[in-house]
């Protein structure tokens, strides 16, 4: 599915795999994709974020701070919903040793369901904008639309709404083009 990816966005995906492997994660999750995107300071994705007043470093920090509280696919709203039926998500995670290293890893981490979804959505975002390539900015939009709670809540907390991001991408592409 990577044929239409630009060199830069391919590099971002490779970087995400590397980041996941370094973190000894079993899967490349959307958060790894986001960190990879903001690591390339010259990418269009970072320019879009900067246009909206979001600093890549601060986003990465915010992500780090949230990470421990999120299991793959579970966010604040889930924790609240679980609390209503008497389940303390943080306590469960603590007891199963979540976040205390993910065990020994052999080989490359695989793409999680959420990451695959985000990458597929980046293609759809590109098509919607009538672009015949997938750049870092489309991956960013794919991540936003993918709805991974950790990524979603981090962006939301930084004041980055899907609508604002989409508009900023359209602007940035027009300027770059």
């Amino acid at each position: 599915m990577f044929e239409r990816f630009t060199k830069r966005s391919r590099r971002a995906v490779e970087q995400a795999v590397y980041i996941a492997a370094e973190a000894r994660a079993s899967h490349v999750r959307p958060e790894h994709l986001l960190v990879a995107l903001v690591s390339d300071k010259d990418s269009l994705a970072v320019r879009v974020l900067a246009d909206l007043g979001a600093s890549p470093d601060r986003l990465r920090e915010a992500l780090e701070q949230r990470r421990g509280r999120y299991v793959d696919g579970l966010g604040d709203e889930d924790a609240e919903a679980l609390a209503t039926i008497g389940i303390d998500l943080q306590e469960v995670l603590r007891r199963i040793g979540h976040g205390s290293g993910e065990g020994r890893r052999h080989g490359r981490p695989r793409f999680s369901r959420g990451s695959k979804k985000a990458l597929e959505l980046s293609l759809r975002e590109a098509i919607a904008l009538r672009h015949n390539y997938i750049g870092t900015e489309h991956i960013l939009l794919g991540l936003v639309r993918g709805g991974d709670p950790l990524v979603h809540d981090t962006l939301r907390a930084a004041g980055l709404t899907p609508a604002a991001l989409r508009a900023a991408v359209a602007d940035a592409v027009r300027q770059a083009g």
């Binding site: 299991v71 209503t84 039926i85 199963i96 040793g97 979540h98 080989g107």
Partner: protein
């Protein structure tokens, strides 16, 4: 817990939106729990046969779901 927060909890538990979200979250949490426990069992040398029996699924099903390529 205060009476106030008890009431808040009772009220939201009655809301299907929150209830269904809890179901979805629980399903994901279950998957996470299963992954963690299977990993632990494998690290302690359990066979796929033993893991399958404990989970009441076939050896093949356990292996297919949890093997690490």
């Amino acid at each position: 817990m205060t009476t106030e927060s008890n009431l808040a909890t009772a009220a939201s538990a009655a809301d299907p939106k929150v209830g269904l979200r809890a179901v979805r979250a629980l399903r994901r949490l279950l998957e996470e729990l299963e992954r963690a426990q299977v990993r632990r069992a494998r690290e302690q040398g359990w066979s796929w046969q033993e893991i399958g029996e404990a989970l009441e699924v076939s050896r093949q099903a356990a292996h297919k779901k949890h093997r690490r390529d």
